[in-house]
Protein backbone atom coordinates (compact mmCIF):
# COMPACT_ATOMS: atom_id res chain seq x y z
CA UNK A 1 0.00 0.00 0.00
CA UNK A 2 2.84 2.37 0.77
CA UNK A 3 3.74 2.79 -2.91
CA UNK A 4 0.38 4.24 -3.90
CA UNK A 5 0.47 7.51 -2.02
CA UNK A 6 3.85 8.74 -3.32
CA UNK A 7 2.91 7.72 -6.86
CA UNK A 8 -0.40 9.58 -6.75
CA UNK A 9 1.29 12.57 -5.14
CA UNK A 10 3.96 12.56 -7.85
CA UNK A 11 1.31 12.45 -10.53
CA UNK A 12 -0.69 15.28 -8.97
CA UNK A 13 2.50 17.29 -8.48
CA UNK A 14 3.51 16.78 -12.10
CA UNK A 15 0.05 17.85 -13.24
CA UNK A 16 0.17 20.97 -11.09
CA UNK A 17 3.63 21.77 -12.45
CA UNK A 18 2.28 21.36 -15.99
CA UNK A 19 -0.68 23.62 -15.22
CA UNK A 20 1.80 26.20 -13.99
CA UNK A 21 4.18 25.72 -16.91
CA UNK A 22 1.57 26.19 -19.65
CA UNK A 23 0.52 29.49 -18.08
CA UNK A 24 4.05 30.93 -18.39
CA UNK A 25 4.66 33.43 -21.13
CA UNK A 26 8.34 32.81 -21.79
CA UNK A 27 10.38 35.69 -23.11
CA UNK A 28 12.54 33.70 -25.49
CA UNK A 29 11.60 31.32 -28.28
CA UNK A 30 14.06 28.71 -27.01
CA UNK A 31 12.48 28.68 -23.56
CA UNK A 32 9.03 28.31 -25.04
CA UNK A 33 10.17 25.37 -27.14
CA UNK A 34 11.69 23.73 -24.06
CA UNK A 35 8.42 24.08 -22.16
CA UNK A 36 6.50 22.62 -25.07
CA UNK A 37 8.83 19.64 -24.92
CA UNK A 38 8.93 19.25 -21.14
CA UNK A 39 5.16 19.23 -20.58
CA UNK A 40 4.30 16.04 -22.50
CA UNK A 41 7.46 14.28 -21.28
CA UNK A 42 6.61 15.12 -17.67
CA UNK A 43 3.09 13.83 -18.27
CA UNK A 44 4.40 10.59 -19.75
CA UNK A 45 6.86 10.05 -16.92
CA UNK A 46 4.23 10.78 -14.27
CA UNK A 47 1.94 8.25 -15.94
CA UNK A 48 4.68 5.60 -15.73
CA UNK A 49 5.28 6.41 -12.06
CA UNK A 50 1.56 6.18 -11.36
CA UNK A 51 1.40 2.82 -13.16
CA UNK A 52 4.39 1.49 -11.19
CA UNK A 53 3.01 2.74 -7.88
CA UNK A 54 -0.52 1.43 -8.36
CA UNK A 55 0.61 -1.98 -9.60
CA UNK A 56 3.00 -2.38 -6.67
CA UNK A 57 0.66 -0.84 -4.11
CA UNK A 58 -2.36 -2.94 -5.00
CA UNK A 59 -0.11 -5.96 -5.60
CA UNK A 60 -1.60 -6.54 -9.06
CA UNK A 61 -0.35 -9.93 -10.28
CA UNK A 62 2.29 -9.60 -13.00
CA UNK A 63 0.24 -11.84 -15.29
CA UNK A 64 -2.35 -9.12 -15.52
CA UNK A 65 -0.31 -5.96 -15.64
CA UNK A 66 3.44 -5.96 -14.97
CA UNK A 67 4.99 -2.74 -13.63
CA UNK A 68 7.08 -0.70 -16.11
CA UNK A 69 10.33 -1.57 -14.28
CA UNK A 70 9.71 -5.26 -14.87
CA UNK A 71 8.97 -4.68 -18.57
CA UNK A 72 12.17 -2.69 -18.87
CA UNK A 73 14.23 -5.47 -17.25
CA UNK A 74 12.66 -7.99 -19.57
CA UNK A 75 13.29 -5.79 -22.60
CA UNK A 76 16.98 -5.41 -21.77
CA UNK A 77 17.46 -9.11 -21.09
CA UNK A 78 15.73 -10.26 -24.29
CA UNK A 79 17.34 -7.89 -26.77
CA UNK A 80 18.58 -10.64 -29.15
CA UNK A 81 15.09 -12.18 -29.43
CA UNK A 82 13.49 -8.78 -29.87
CA UNK A 83 16.02 -7.86 -32.56
CA UNK A 84 15.35 -11.10 -34.46
CA UNK A 85 11.60 -10.43 -34.31
CA UNK A 86 12.12 -6.84 -35.40
CA UNK A 87 14.23 -7.94 -38.36
CA UNK A 88 11.67 -10.55 -39.44
CA UNK A 89 8.57 -8.37 -39.09
CA UNK A 90 9.76 -4.84 -39.66
CA UNK A 91 12.80 -5.01 -41.91
CA UNK A 92 11.59 -7.88 -44.09
CA UNK A 93 7.77 -7.71 -44.14
CA UNK A 94 6.88 -4.09 -43.39
CA UNK A 95 9.54 -2.24 -45.37
CA UNK A 96 9.32 -4.47 -48.45
CA UNK A 97 5.52 -4.43 -48.45
CA UNK A 98 5.31 -0.69 -47.76
CA UNK A 99 7.67 0.26 -50.57
CA UNK A 100 6.01 -2.14 -53.03
CA UNK A 101 2.43 -1.21 -52.10
CA UNK A 102 3.01 2.55 -52.09
CA UNK A 103 5.08 2.35 -55.28
CA UNK A 104 2.39 0.33 -57.08
CA UNK A 105 -0.38 2.66 -55.93
CA UNK A 106 1.59 5.66 -57.18
CA UNK A 107 2.44 4.09 -60.54
CA UNK A 108 -1.13 2.93 -61.18
CA UNK A 109 -2.38 6.44 -60.34
CA UNK A 110 0.01 7.92 -62.92
CA UNK A 111 -0.94 5.21 -65.42
CA UNK A 112 -4.66 5.98 -65.22
CA UNK A 113 -4.06 9.73 -65.17
CA UNK A 114 -4.94 10.13 -68.84
CA UNK A 115 -8.08 8.00 -68.60
CA UNK A 116 -10.98 9.74 -66.82
CA UNK A 117 -12.99 6.55 -67.38
CA UNK A 118 -10.60 4.37 -65.39
CA UNK A 119 -10.33 7.05 -62.70
CA UNK A 120 -14.10 7.25 -62.32
CA UNK A 121 -14.18 3.46 -62.06
CA UNK A 122 -11.24 2.97 -59.69
CA UNK A 123 -11.65 5.93 -57.34
CA UNK A 124 -14.98 4.87 -55.73
CA UNK A 125 -13.70 1.30 -55.50
CA UNK A 126 -10.45 2.47 -53.89
CA UNK A 127 -12.37 4.57 -51.38
CA UNK A 128 -14.62 1.61 -50.63
CA UNK A 129 -11.76 -0.83 -50.17
CA UNK A 130 -10.00 1.63 -47.85
CA UNK A 131 -12.95 1.28 -45.45
CA UNK A 132 -12.92 -2.54 -45.52
CA UNK A 133 -11.24 -4.81 -42.98
CA UNK A 134 -8.50 -5.65 -45.48
CA UNK A 135 -6.42 -7.49 -42.83
CA UNK A 136 -8.95 -10.27 -43.35
CA UNK A 137 -7.10 -11.36 -46.49
CA UNK A 138 -4.22 -12.45 -44.25
CA UNK A 139 -5.28 -16.14 -44.00
CA UNK A 140 -5.59 -16.35 -47.79
CA UNK A 141 -2.17 -14.77 -48.33
CA UNK A 142 -0.64 -17.18 -45.79
CA UNK A 143 -2.13 -20.06 -47.77
CA UNK A 144 -0.88 -18.73 -51.07
CA UNK A 145 2.57 -17.48 -50.16
CA UNK A 146 3.49 -19.67 -47.21
CA UNK A 147 4.30 -19.00 -43.55
CA UNK A 148 7.40 -16.90 -44.05
CA UNK A 149 7.62 -13.16 -44.69
CA UNK A 150 6.45 -13.09 -48.36
CA UNK A 151 2.84 -13.69 -47.28
CA UNK A 152 3.12 -10.76 -44.85
CA UNK A 153 4.53 -8.61 -47.63
CA UNK A 154 1.49 -9.52 -49.74
CA UNK A 155 -0.90 -8.43 -46.96
CA UNK A 156 0.97 -5.15 -46.50
CA UNK A 157 0.98 -4.49 -50.27
CA UNK A 158 -2.79 -4.97 -50.47
CA UNK A 159 -3.38 -2.76 -47.42
CA UNK A 160 -1.18 0.11 -48.56
CA UNK A 161 -2.03 0.06 -52.28
CA UNK A 162 -5.50 1.62 -52.17
CA UNK A 163 -4.85 4.56 -49.83
CA UNK A 164 -1.88 5.49 -52.03
CA UNK A 165 -3.90 5.14 -55.25
CA UNK A 166 -6.78 7.26 -53.97
CA UNK A 167 -4.56 9.96 -52.50
CA UNK A 168 -2.33 10.23 -55.57
CA UNK A 169 -5.30 10.49 -57.95
CA UNK A 170 -6.87 13.15 -55.69
CA UNK A 171 -3.54 14.95 -55.37
CA UNK A 172 -2.95 15.03 -59.12
CA UNK A 173 -6.29 16.81 -59.46
CA UNK A 174 -5.42 19.31 -56.73
CA UNK A 175 -3.71 21.94 -58.89
CA UNK A 176 -6.07 24.89 -59.38
CA UNK A 177 -7.64 25.50 -62.79
CA UNK A 178 -5.78 28.82 -62.96
CA UNK A 179 -2.44 27.07 -62.53
CA UNK A 180 -3.39 24.53 -65.19
CA UNK A 181 -4.53 27.32 -67.55
CA UNK A 182 -1.15 28.95 -67.07
CA UNK A 183 0.59 25.79 -68.25
CA UNK A 184 -1.78 25.67 -71.21
CA UNK A 185 -0.92 29.20 -72.31
CA UNK A 186 2.72 28.02 -72.37
CA UNK A 187 1.61 25.10 -74.60
CA UNK A 188 3.28 22.81 -72.05
CA UNK A 189 3.15 19.07 -72.76
CA UNK A 190 1.32 16.58 -70.50
CA UNK A 191 4.64 15.44 -69.08
CA UNK A 192 5.87 19.00 -68.39
CA UNK A 193 2.60 19.85 -66.64
CA UNK A 194 2.88 16.65 -64.60
CA UNK A 195 6.45 17.22 -63.46
CA UNK A 196 6.39 20.97 -62.97
CA UNK A 197 2.88 21.53 -61.62
CA UNK A 198 0.72 18.54 -60.79
CA UNK A 199 3.24 16.35 -58.98
CA UNK A 200 4.49 19.15 -56.70
CA UNK A 201 0.87 20.09 -55.95
CA UNK A 202 0.13 16.42 -55.19
CA UNK A 203 2.97 15.91 -52.66
CA UNK A 204 0.87 16.84 -49.59
CA UNK A 205 -1.71 14.19 -50.57
CA UNK A 206 0.94 11.58 -51.35
CA UNK A 207 2.59 12.16 -47.99
CA UNK A 208 -0.79 11.85 -46.31
CA UNK A 209 -1.03 8.35 -47.80
CA UNK A 210 2.57 7.57 -46.85
CA UNK A 211 1.80 8.48 -43.22
CA UNK A 212 -1.46 6.49 -43.08
CA UNK A 213 0.31 3.56 -44.70
CA UNK A 214 3.21 3.58 -42.25
CA UNK A 215 0.75 2.60 -39.51
CA UNK A 216 -1.28 0.24 -41.70
CA UNK A 217 1.83 -1.63 -42.84
CA UNK A 218 2.90 -2.46 -39.29
CA UNK A 219 -0.63 -3.55 -38.31
CA UNK A 220 -0.92 -5.71 -41.44
CA UNK A 221 2.37 -7.49 -40.87
CA UNK A 222 1.72 -8.18 -37.18
CA UNK A 223 -1.86 -9.38 -37.65
CA UNK A 224 -0.85 -11.56 -40.61
CA UNK A 225 1.56 -13.34 -38.28
CA UNK A 226 -1.38 -14.38 -36.06
CA UNK A 227 -2.43 -16.63 -38.96
CA UNK A 228 0.80 -18.54 -39.24
CA UNK A 229 4.49 -17.77 -39.22
CA UNK A 230 7.88 -19.39 -38.67
CA UNK A 231 8.92 -19.21 -35.02
CA UNK A 232 10.09 -15.61 -35.23
CA UNK A 233 8.34 -12.26 -35.65
CA UNK A 234 6.63 -9.65 -33.51
CA UNK A 235 3.09 -10.94 -34.07
CA UNK A 236 4.21 -14.50 -33.46
CA UNK A 237 6.00 -13.54 -30.24
CA UNK A 238 3.00 -11.60 -28.94
CA UNK A 239 0.50 -14.40 -29.57
CA UNK A 240 2.71 -17.20 -28.17
CA UNK A 241 3.91 -15.28 -25.10
CA UNK A 242 0.32 -14.31 -24.34
CA UNK A 243 -0.51 -18.01 -24.45
CA UNK A 244 2.30 -18.72 -21.97
CA UNK A 245 1.14 -15.80 -19.77
CA UNK A 246 4.55 -14.11 -20.14
CA UNK A 247 2.86 -10.73 -20.16
CA UNK A 248 6.07 -8.81 -19.47
CA UNK A 249 7.57 -10.15 -22.70
CA UNK A 250 4.41 -9.14 -24.57
CA UNK A 251 4.75 -5.62 -23.21
CA UNK A 252 8.42 -5.52 -24.18
CA UNK A 253 7.47 -6.54 -27.73
CA UNK A 254 4.73 -3.90 -27.79
CA UNK A 255 7.23 -1.29 -26.62
CA UNK A 256 9.51 -2.22 -29.54
CA UNK A 257 6.55 -2.12 -31.96
CA UNK A 258 5.51 1.27 -30.60
CA UNK A 259 9.02 2.64 -30.95
CA UNK A 260 9.39 1.25 -34.48
CA UNK A 261 5.98 2.65 -35.48
CA UNK A 262 6.70 6.10 -34.06
CA UNK A 263 10.16 6.33 -35.61
CA UNK A 264 8.82 5.12 -38.97
CA UNK A 265 6.05 7.72 -38.87
CA UNK A 266 8.47 10.36 -37.63
CA UNK A 267 10.87 9.78 -40.52
CA UNK A 268 8.05 10.04 -43.07
CA UNK A 269 6.77 13.22 -41.40
CA UNK A 270 10.29 14.68 -41.41
CA UNK A 271 10.74 14.00 -45.13
CA UNK A 272 7.32 15.57 -45.67
CA UNK A 273 8.43 18.78 -43.96
CA UNK A 274 11.45 18.97 -46.24
CA UNK A 275 9.58 18.21 -49.48
CA UNK A 276 6.43 20.27 -48.83
CA UNK A 277 8.14 23.13 -46.99
CA UNK A 278 5.97 25.53 -48.98
CA UNK A 279 2.62 24.12 -47.80
CA UNK A 280 0.68 26.37 -45.38
CA UNK A 281 0.41 23.60 -42.77
CA UNK A 282 4.20 23.23 -42.64
CA UNK A 283 4.95 26.96 -42.93
CA UNK A 284 2.53 27.74 -40.09
CA UNK A 285 4.24 25.17 -37.90
CA UNK A 286 7.63 26.74 -38.38
CA UNK A 287 6.74 30.39 -37.93
Amino acid sequence: MNAILPAVLFWLGAWALNEWLVRRKPASKALERTIRLIVPILFGVSLLVLWEGLVRGFAVPAVLLPPPSMIWTRLISSLPTLWADFRQTFLKSVITGYVTGCGLGFLVAIAIDRSPFLQKGLLPLGNFVSALPVVGVAPIMVMWFGFDWPSKVAVVVIMTFFPMLVNTVTGLAAASSMEKDLMQTYAASWFQTLVKLRLPAAWPFIFNALKINSTLALIGAIVAEFFGTPIVGMGFRISTEVGRMNVDMVWAEIAVAALAGSVFYGVVALVERVVTFWHPSVRGGRA
Partner: protein, 290 residues
Amino acid sequence: MTNREKIVPVLTILAALLAVWYAAVVFLNAPFERDTAARAGTTISFSEIVPRTMAQARPVLPAPHQVMAELWDTTINKPVTSKRSLVYHAWITLSATLVGFGLGTLLGIALAVGIVHNRAMDRSLMPWIIASQTIPILAIAPMIIVVLNAIGIAGLLPKALISTYLSFFPIAVGMVKGLRSPEQIQLDLMRTYNASPSQLFWKLRWPASMPYLFTSLKVAVAISLVGAIVGELPTGAVAGLGARLLAGSYYGQTVQIWSALFMAAGLAAVLVLIVGAAHSAVLRRMGVRP
Protein backbone atom coordinates in the same frame (compact mmCIF):
# COMPACT_ATOMS: atom_id res chain seq x y z
CA MET B 1 -27.42 11.09 -67.00
CA THR B 2 -24.85 12.05 -64.37
CA ASN B 3 -25.71 8.97 -62.33
CA ARG B 4 -25.11 6.76 -65.30
CA GLU B 5 -21.79 8.51 -65.92
CA LYS B 6 -20.81 7.60 -62.39
CA ILE B 7 -22.00 4.01 -62.39
CA VAL B 8 -20.87 2.77 -65.81
CA PRO B 9 -17.10 3.06 -65.12
CA VAL B 10 -17.45 1.38 -61.73
CA LEU B 11 -19.48 -1.48 -63.21
CA THR B 12 -16.98 -1.86 -66.05
CA ILE B 13 -14.10 -2.17 -63.59
CA LEU B 14 -16.10 -4.65 -61.49
CA ALA B 15 -16.85 -6.74 -64.57
CA ALA B 16 -13.17 -6.68 -65.50
CA LEU B 17 -12.24 -7.77 -61.95
CA LEU B 18 -14.75 -10.62 -62.17
CA ALA B 19 -13.25 -11.76 -65.47
CA VAL B 20 -9.73 -11.62 -64.00
CA TRP B 21 -10.99 -13.56 -60.98
CA TYR B 22 -12.40 -16.38 -63.14
CA ALA B 23 -9.22 -16.51 -65.19
CA ALA B 24 -7.21 -16.71 -61.96
CA VAL B 25 -9.47 -19.50 -60.69
CA VAL B 26 -8.66 -21.61 -63.75
CA PHE B 27 -4.97 -20.76 -63.58
CA LEU B 28 -4.53 -21.34 -59.83
CA ASN B 29 -6.72 -24.42 -59.45
CA ALA B 30 -5.64 -26.23 -62.61
CA PRO B 31 -2.40 -27.74 -61.16
CA PHE B 32 -4.43 -29.63 -58.57
CA GLU B 33 -6.64 -31.17 -61.28
CA ARG B 34 -3.57 -32.10 -63.35
CA ASP B 35 -1.97 -33.73 -60.30
CA THR B 36 -5.11 -35.69 -59.56
CA ALA B 37 -5.31 -36.84 -63.15
CA ALA B 38 -1.61 -37.74 -63.21
CA ARG B 39 -1.96 -39.74 -60.01
CA ALA B 40 -4.90 -41.58 -61.52
CA GLY B 41 -2.71 -42.26 -64.54
CA THR B 42 -4.94 -40.42 -66.97
CA THR B 43 -4.44 -37.25 -68.97
CA ILE B 44 -6.95 -34.48 -68.87
CA SER B 45 -7.79 -31.93 -71.55
CA PHE B 46 -8.06 -28.22 -70.94
CA SER B 47 -11.77 -28.16 -71.63
CA GLU B 48 -12.25 -30.80 -68.95
CA ILE B 49 -10.09 -28.90 -66.46
CA VAL B 50 -11.97 -25.60 -66.69
CA PRO B 51 -15.31 -26.68 -65.17
CA ARG B 52 -13.54 -28.77 -62.52
CA THR B 53 -11.42 -25.82 -61.32
CA MET B 54 -14.66 -24.07 -60.38
CA ALA B 55 -16.10 -26.92 -58.37
CA GLN B 56 -13.29 -27.97 -56.02
CA ALA B 57 -14.05 -28.48 -52.34
CA ARG B 58 -10.89 -26.70 -51.17
CA PRO B 59 -9.74 -24.59 -54.10
CA VAL B 60 -6.67 -22.35 -53.94
CA LEU B 61 -9.01 -19.63 -55.13
CA PRO B 62 -12.76 -20.30 -55.06
CA ALA B 63 -14.81 -19.07 -58.00
CA PRO B 64 -17.10 -16.09 -57.31
CA HIS B 65 -20.22 -18.19 -57.76
CA GLN B 66 -18.90 -20.71 -55.18
CA VAL B 67 -18.50 -17.88 -52.67
CA MET B 68 -21.96 -16.56 -53.50
CA ALA B 69 -23.47 -20.02 -53.10
CA GLU B 70 -21.76 -20.42 -49.72
CA LEU B 71 -22.97 -16.96 -48.66
CA TRP B 72 -26.51 -17.84 -49.73
CA ASP B 73 -26.36 -21.21 -48.03
CA THR B 74 -25.04 -19.89 -44.71
CA THR B 75 -27.29 -16.84 -44.48
CA ILE B 76 -30.64 -17.90 -45.91
CA ASN B 77 -30.69 -21.67 -45.51
CA LYS B 78 -29.47 -21.86 -41.91
CA PRO B 79 -31.50 -20.76 -38.87
CA VAL B 80 -30.10 -17.53 -37.47
CA THR B 81 -29.33 -19.14 -34.11
CA SER B 82 -27.29 -21.96 -35.65
CA LYS B 83 -23.53 -21.92 -35.22
CA ARG B 84 -23.28 -22.62 -38.94
CA SER B 85 -25.19 -19.47 -39.83
CA LEU B 86 -23.07 -16.59 -41.09
CA VAL B 87 -25.73 -14.18 -39.86
CA TYR B 88 -25.12 -15.48 -36.33
CA HIS B 89 -21.36 -14.92 -36.62
CA ALA B 90 -21.84 -11.51 -38.23
CA TRP B 91 -24.13 -10.48 -35.37
CA ILE B 92 -21.52 -11.53 -32.78
CA THR B 93 -18.94 -9.35 -34.51
CA LEU B 94 -21.36 -6.51 -35.16
CA SER B 95 -22.52 -6.28 -31.54
CA ALA B 96 -18.94 -6.00 -30.31
CA THR B 97 -18.24 -3.44 -33.03
CA LEU B 98 -21.22 -1.29 -32.10
CA VAL B 99 -20.60 -1.36 -28.34
CA GLY B 100 -16.93 -0.53 -28.90
CA PHE B 101 -17.76 2.17 -31.42
CA GLY B 102 -20.28 3.76 -29.05
CA LEU B 103 -17.90 3.76 -26.11
CA GLY B 104 -15.06 5.01 -28.30
CA THR B 105 -17.16 7.88 -29.61
CA LEU B 106 -18.14 9.03 -26.11
CA LEU B 107 -14.57 8.72 -24.84
CA GLY B 108 -13.14 10.49 -27.87
CA ILE B 109 -15.57 13.41 -27.61
CA ALA B 110 -15.05 13.74 -23.85
CA LEU B 111 -11.29 13.79 -24.33
CA ALA B 112 -11.54 16.36 -27.11
CA VAL B 113 -13.74 18.64 -25.00
CA GLY B 114 -11.20 18.41 -22.16
CA ILE B 115 -8.30 19.12 -24.47
CA VAL B 116 -9.96 22.16 -26.03
CA HIS B 117 -10.84 23.65 -22.65
CA ASN B 118 -7.71 22.86 -20.66
CA ARG B 119 -4.30 24.03 -21.80
CA ALA B 120 -2.41 21.59 -19.61
CA MET B 121 -4.40 18.67 -20.99
CA ASP B 122 -3.81 19.94 -24.51
CA ARG B 123 -0.07 20.28 -24.11
CA SER B 124 0.51 17.05 -22.21
CA LEU B 125 -2.05 14.69 -23.79
CA MET B 126 -2.14 15.80 -27.42
CA PRO B 127 1.42 14.74 -28.33
CA TRP B 128 0.74 11.30 -26.85
CA ILE B 129 -2.57 10.92 -28.67
CA ILE B 130 -0.87 11.74 -31.97
CA ALA B 131 2.07 9.46 -31.19
CA SER B 132 -0.26 6.63 -30.21
CA GLN B 133 -1.77 6.72 -33.71
CA THR B 134 1.58 5.64 -35.06
CA ILE B 135 1.64 2.58 -32.79
CA PRO B 136 0.26 -0.72 -34.08
CA ILE B 137 -2.46 -0.82 -31.44
CA LEU B 138 -3.87 -4.06 -32.82
CA ALA B 139 -0.76 -5.79 -31.49
CA ILE B 140 -2.17 -5.33 -27.98
CA ALA B 141 -5.44 -7.04 -28.90
CA PRO B 142 -4.47 -10.63 -28.04
CA MET B 143 -3.14 -9.54 -24.67
CA ILE B 144 -6.26 -7.63 -23.71
CA ILE B 145 -8.42 -10.60 -24.65
CA VAL B 146 -6.36 -13.17 -22.80
CA VAL B 147 -5.72 -11.05 -19.72
CA LEU B 148 -9.39 -10.13 -19.38
CA ASN B 149 -10.28 -13.77 -19.88
CA ALA B 150 -7.91 -14.67 -17.05
CA ILE B 151 -9.80 -12.44 -14.62
CA GLY B 152 -13.12 -13.82 -15.77
CA ILE B 153 -14.26 -11.24 -18.29
CA ALA B 154 -15.04 -12.99 -21.56
CA GLY B 155 -17.40 -12.67 -24.49
CA LEU B 156 -18.41 -9.35 -25.93
CA LEU B 157 -16.73 -6.87 -23.61
CA PRO B 158 -13.02 -7.57 -24.30
CA LYS B 159 -13.58 -7.33 -28.06
CA ALA B 160 -15.63 -4.18 -27.59
CA LEU B 161 -12.78 -2.69 -25.54
CA ILE B 162 -10.38 -3.25 -28.42
CA SER B 163 -12.82 -1.52 -30.75
CA THR B 164 -13.14 1.31 -28.22
CA TYR B 165 -9.40 1.64 -28.02
CA LEU B 166 -9.07 1.75 -31.81
CA SER B 167 -11.97 4.11 -32.47
CA PHE B 168 -11.47 6.79 -29.83
CA PHE B 169 -8.21 8.06 -31.33
CA PRO B 170 -9.55 9.25 -34.69
CA ILE B 171 -12.58 10.77 -32.95
CA ALA B 172 -10.54 12.61 -30.34
CA VAL B 173 -8.16 14.02 -32.96
CA GLY B 174 -10.99 14.93 -35.35
CA MET B 175 -13.06 16.57 -32.64
CA VAL B 176 -10.16 18.64 -31.31
CA LYS B 177 -9.74 19.96 -34.84
CA GLY B 178 -13.48 20.48 -35.20
CA LEU B 179 -14.02 22.26 -31.86
CA ARG B 180 -11.13 24.55 -32.76
CA SER B 181 -12.42 25.20 -36.29
CA PRO B 182 -14.43 28.39 -35.55
CA GLU B 183 -12.49 31.39 -36.78
CA GLN B 184 -11.27 34.21 -34.60
CA ILE B 185 -13.95 36.64 -35.84
CA GLN B 186 -16.68 34.17 -34.89
CA LEU B 187 -15.17 33.76 -31.42
CA ASP B 188 -14.84 37.54 -31.13
CA LEU B 189 -18.51 37.93 -32.04
CA MET B 190 -19.51 35.59 -29.19
CA ARG B 191 -17.26 37.62 -26.92
CA THR B 192 -19.03 40.85 -27.82
CA TYR B 193 -22.30 39.15 -26.76
CA ASN B 194 -20.64 38.25 -23.45
CA ALA B 195 -21.62 34.60 -24.08
CA SER B 196 -21.00 32.13 -21.28
CA PRO B 197 -18.55 29.25 -21.86
CA SER B 198 -21.42 26.78 -22.21
CA GLN B 199 -23.20 29.06 -24.70
CA LEU B 200 -19.97 29.41 -26.63
CA PHE B 201 -19.68 25.63 -26.71
CA TRP B 202 -23.25 24.72 -27.69
CA LYS B 203 -23.91 27.59 -30.06
CA LEU B 204 -20.56 27.81 -31.83
CA ARG B 205 -17.98 25.11 -31.18
CA TRP B 206 -20.29 22.08 -31.20
CA PRO B 207 -22.15 22.89 -34.45
CA ALA B 208 -18.87 23.89 -36.11
CA SER B 209 -17.35 20.52 -35.23
CA MET B 210 -20.09 18.41 -36.84
CA PRO B 211 -18.44 17.88 -40.25
CA TYR B 212 -15.21 16.85 -38.49
CA LEU B 213 -17.09 14.52 -36.15
CA PHE B 214 -18.74 12.62 -38.98
CA THR B 215 -15.57 12.35 -41.02
CA SER B 216 -13.91 10.80 -37.95
CA LEU B 217 -16.93 8.59 -37.29
CA LYS B 218 -16.59 7.02 -40.73
CA VAL B 219 -12.95 6.14 -40.04
CA ALA B 220 -13.78 5.01 -36.50
CA VAL B 221 -16.63 2.69 -37.43
CA ALA B 222 -14.51 0.97 -40.08
CA ILE B 223 -11.62 0.51 -37.68
CA SER B 224 -14.00 -0.67 -34.91
CA LEU B 225 -14.99 -3.54 -37.14
CA VAL B 226 -11.34 -4.40 -37.78
CA GLY B 227 -10.77 -4.33 -34.01
CA ALA B 228 -13.68 -6.69 -33.31
CA ILE B 229 -12.54 -9.12 -36.01
CA VAL B 230 -8.93 -9.15 -34.83
CA GLY B 231 -10.20 -9.44 -31.24
CA GLU B 232 -11.79 -12.75 -32.17
CA LEU B 233 -8.55 -14.28 -33.38
CA PRO B 234 -6.81 -15.14 -30.07
CA THR B 235 -9.78 -16.62 -28.27
CA GLY B 236 -9.42 -19.88 -30.18
CA ALA B 237 -12.05 -19.35 -32.83
CA VAL B 238 -15.30 -19.65 -30.91
CA ALA B 239 -17.68 -17.34 -32.73
CA GLY B 240 -17.68 -14.29 -34.96
CA LEU B 241 -16.34 -13.41 -38.40
CA GLY B 242 -12.73 -13.39 -37.16
CA ALA B 243 -13.26 -16.88 -35.79
CA ARG B 244 -14.62 -18.00 -39.17
CA LEU B 245 -11.48 -16.64 -40.83
CA LEU B 246 -9.23 -18.43 -38.36
CA ALA B 247 -11.15 -21.72 -38.49
CA GLY B 248 -11.16 -21.53 -42.26
CA SER B 249 -7.41 -21.07 -42.32
CA TYR B 250 -6.87 -23.98 -39.88
CA TYR B 251 -8.87 -26.42 -41.99
CA GLY B 252 -8.07 -25.00 -45.43
CA GLN B 253 -11.72 -24.09 -46.03
CA THR B 254 -11.04 -21.32 -48.55
CA VAL B 255 -14.68 -20.93 -49.52
CA GLN B 256 -15.51 -20.27 -45.88
CA ILE B 257 -12.72 -17.67 -45.58
CA TRP B 258 -13.88 -15.84 -48.67
CA SER B 259 -17.52 -15.81 -47.63
CA ALA B 260 -16.55 -14.49 -44.19
CA LEU B 261 -14.46 -11.82 -45.93
CA PHE B 262 -17.40 -10.81 -48.12
CA MET B 263 -19.67 -10.68 -45.09
CA ALA B 264 -17.16 -8.44 -43.30
CA ALA B 265 -16.91 -6.20 -46.37
CA GLY B 266 -20.68 -5.99 -46.57
CA LEU B 267 -20.89 -5.13 -42.88
CA ALA B 268 -18.26 -2.40 -43.26
CA ALA B 269 -20.08 -0.98 -46.27
CA VAL B 270 -23.42 -0.87 -44.43
CA LEU B 271 -21.88 0.74 -41.34
CA VAL B 272 -20.06 3.41 -43.36
CA LEU B 273 -23.22 4.05 -45.39
CA ILE B 274 -25.29 4.51 -42.22
CA VAL B 275 -22.77 6.98 -40.80
CA GLY B 276 -22.70 8.73 -44.18
CA ALA B 277 -26.49 8.99 -44.23
CA ALA B 278 -26.49 10.38 -40.68
CA HIS B 279 -23.82 12.84 -41.79
CA SER B 280 -25.87 14.25 -44.66
CA ALA B 281 -29.05 14.26 -42.54
CA VAL B 282 -27.36 16.35 -39.84
CA LEU B 283 -25.78 18.68 -42.38
CA ARG B 284 -29.13 19.16 -44.08
CA ARG B 285 -30.77 20.01 -40.77
CA MET B 286 -28.00 22.52 -40.15
CA GLY B 287 -28.82 24.13 -43.50
CA VAL B 288 -25.66 23.10 -45.33
CA ARG B 289 -26.22 22.25 -48.96
CA PRO B 290 -25.17 18.66 -49.66
